[in-house]
């Protein structure tokens, strides 16, 4: 018994030591936080009228070691401008959704939260009353920002005429592209300029399959289908992009789906796709050149970003014109919670964040001289410490078009974004947000049927002529028609009010 106690005591001692060692760095940051009261002064006219407040801001992204250090600088600035300090909390990618659901449902007080079509779902939360309406607040405290953000965002993100979050100004359109491993293109002297669709790939894939035994021609992807999907991408309900665009359809009943998936399955049978495509979780890292073609979503100059992280050249071919979908306008936004005690101040902060290049760059890139260096021409270079200690998710924070450019970025990068946004075509159901509540029982069942069939079909792993009819049969058994009717009803109603 004595021995056991001794052992425990030793263990506990060790633990204390470990925590003490680990805690050092965190402690250092803290000690500096408090002494930044003064410093108001010239821009003080707003600051003097407002009471000091702290805004809690939940953002998606891996927690960063230097966050505290940077936020101290941020707070100096925001205190001066709007007399608010920002308590930025990063929640990791994989847990953001679940955490935010618990936080909102429990009614916890917070001010700002990241929301989007793919994490902390914008439409669902807005409909259920988690987010404050922003139209008036924005007219009052966010005029500058309203002018800067592409109107396509502000219009497309409105649910029944009300805006519930501030969209991040970035590429508004969504465009699927095929990207190619340029080394292989050159080596086999292939002509990719004629590739405009999945079908056009055939001759190229055949060459790669024959001559490059170590390369899988296709880095597993879901076939591109020309629809504007309601709810998730793989769910069956959708509007057509051409033809009769006012009618909601089951995309798995459409001819184009069958044709595309047949091609996909043909590629699968020919061995262009991994035999395990449907079940493998390979992430196909860019650094490993064991692929020839893959599908990605494009933004201007994406190929240079990809080439940089791959370490070899990557070239792209578009599969379609860029479209503005609900999913793309709500791709990255900041919402103000209905539980917020200071919605006005939160709006002021978002306005500042989206219009003030100093603040925007500070939160994104860190502190000059610590995390990055500014070059003579105004471009910047990351210091190694930034990648390790302050690697922030740029697209999730705010207006991207006021960010500083890297030395190897093209000087007209942001102009290209604007151009890209201008030529993006609004999709038929842009701004129509389906309320799934009346048919939630059916959707739960359809969700199950979809996850049973769609991954294997979209990746080409099974024969569509056999499986699509079965898929559709099960979809209708699960209540497909009721859901289609409900969507059509809501859509017609919405359309009338436009």
């Amino acid at each position: 018994m004595k021995k056991t106690i001794l052992l425990l005591a030793m263990l506990l001692g060790m633990v204390g030591l470990l925590i003490a060692c680990g805690g050092e760095e965190a402690g250092e940051g803290k000690s500096e936080t408090t002494e930044n009261e003064g410093g108001t002064g010239d821009t003080g006219e707003v600051g003097e009228k407002l009471d000091p407040v702290t805004l809690t801001w939940y953002l998606i992204g891996t927690p960063q070691q230097d966050l505290e250090l940077v936020m101290e600088e941020v707070n100096k600035y925001t205190e001066e401008k709007i007399n608010a300090t920002i308590d930025l909390r990063l929640l990791d990618w994989g847990e953001f959704d679940e955490r935010m659901q618990v936080i909102t449902t429990s009614g916890e007080n917070y001010d700002i939260a990241f929301t989007s079509s793919w994490a902390n779902n914008y439409a669902l939360n807005a409909r259920r009353g988690a987010f404050a309406e922003l139209n008036e607040l924005m007219d009052q405290y966010g005029k500058e920002m309203k002018e800067l953000i592409d109107p396509a965002f502000l219009e497309g993100a409105q649910i029944d005429g009300k805006l519930y979050a501030v969209p991040t100004n970035k590429e508004v359109g969504q465009q699927a592209v095929l990207s190619f491993n340029h080394e292989l293109v050159e080596k086999h002297d292939l002509d990719i300029s004629t590739v405009n669709s999945l079908t056009d790939l055939e001759p190229l894939l055949a060459v790669i399959k024959e001559k490059e035994t170590d390369v899988t021609p296709i880095a597993t992807f879901d076939a591109y289908l020309p629809f504007d999907s309601i709810l998730q991408e793989e769910m069956p309900f959708a509007f057509r992009l051409d033809g009769n665009t006012d009618e909601v359809v089951n995309k798995y009943e459409e001819e184009v789906t069958m044709e595309t998936l047949k091609v996909m399955h043909d590629y699968y049978k020919k061995g262009y796709i991994r035999p395990d495509a449907a079940t493998s979780t390979d992430s196909w890292p860019l650094e490993t050149p064991n692929w020839f073609v893959r599908k990605e979503l494009y933004q201007p100059y994406a190929e240079s970003v990809w080439s940089r992280s791959a370490g070899y050249e990557i070239v792209t071919r578009p599969l379609h014109e860029p479209y503005v979908f609900n999913n793309s306008v709500t791709g990255s936004m900041q919402a103000i919670s209905t539980t917020s005690q200071n919605p006005e101040r939160a709006m002021m902060f978002l306005n500042l964040l989206n219009t003030d290049p100093y603040l925007r760059n500070l939160i994104d890139k860190g502190i000059e001289g610590v995390h990055y260096e500014e070059n003579a021409d105004g471009s910047i270079t990351d210091l190694p410490v930034r990648v390790e200690r302050y690697n922030m998710p740029s697209f999730a924070i705010g207006n991207q078009l006021i960010l500083k450019l890297y030395e190897d970025d093209p000087a007209d990068k942001w102009e290209a974004f604007e151009e890209f946004n201008e030529k993006s075509i609004p999709s038929p159901a842009l701004g129509f947000y389906f309320d799934s509540n009346p048919v939630r029982t059916e959707i739960a069942a359809i969700s199950n049927v979809t996850s049973e069939f769609s991954p294997a079909l979209l990746k080409g792993a099974v024969d569509p002529e056999e499986f699509i009819p079965e898929f559709n049969k099960k979809l209708y058994e699960a209540g497909m028609q009721d859901v289609l009717d409900e969507i059509q009803r809501q859509y017609d109603e919405w359309k009338e009010n436009q």
């Binding site: 429990s106 009614g107 009353g129 998730q232 769910m235 395990d276 449907a278 079940t279 493998s280 029982t441």
Partner: protein, 312 residues
Amino acid sequence: MQRLKKFGRNIYDNRIWLLMILPGFVWLIVMKYLPMVGQVMAFKDFRFHPDGFFASVYHSEWVGLDNFKFLFSTNDAYLITRNTVLYNLVFIILGLILAVGVAIILSELTKQKLAKIYQTGMLFPHFLSWVVVSYFVFAFLSVDRGLFNSVLEMFNIEPVSWYNESAYWPYFLIAISQWKGVGFGSIVYLAAIVGIDRTYYEAAMIDGATKWQQIWRITIPMIMPLIIILTILNIGSIFSADFGLFYQVPRDSGPLYSVTNVIDTYVYRGLMSMGDIGMSTAAGLYQATVGFLLILLTNYIVRKIDKDSALF
């Protein structure tokens, strides 16, 4: 008044015992019973209210049993219930036999040093998360890189696309679950066996009982109460499945759904696109209620047979 007085005296008489249960009791009230009010969400169409959770619950509309509908509405309802119950029955029975068997063998092994090494080894799978187990299983079952197909190839047998063939999966899942659970499951029985009074065995040996007879006549009867209690408790979770085993290990492969879709995976997939808290609460409540009724029934039967072995 009389009754109240008696109650007061009873409390006083039992004060020492009440004191013992106090810390645990407070914990149960705060951490388990207090949050139970949340079950009411199962009957509401949950909407947020700026005044916090209770206001949200209060202002949300009653929808009766609407949130439960999705569990029963389709043909899948039968399938997922059947899968969940059958797998769990197999897990309970097989798990019991294997865990008790292993515990008995371990306790009877000569060379206890080796026995301890086996025991430690058998506990290893308990530490691997289902995600890691699924990587490992994939290394065996992958079509082109898997160990199984390489072996088949050696014998010139056509490779099998394992993740598309539902026929094999009930066996895989049962084997994997037992592999992961036996080491852990046998610990408690082993502890019970080593606690058995040794004089019983000594007496039996003097009477000339064989090892086999000793196991049947002494060991098993002595650990029977524990076996019964654990089995009753396991029956309570017969409507809940181990999500990781049925979702991660088969890699969410569609062609396998007929044998891998269980209530928990169905609920997860169904609510993925909606995140409806009312519906997920309803699913949990349904599973718990059925489990509760089954436990009461089992306990009732056990009590008829042997009052001392019952749970309560």
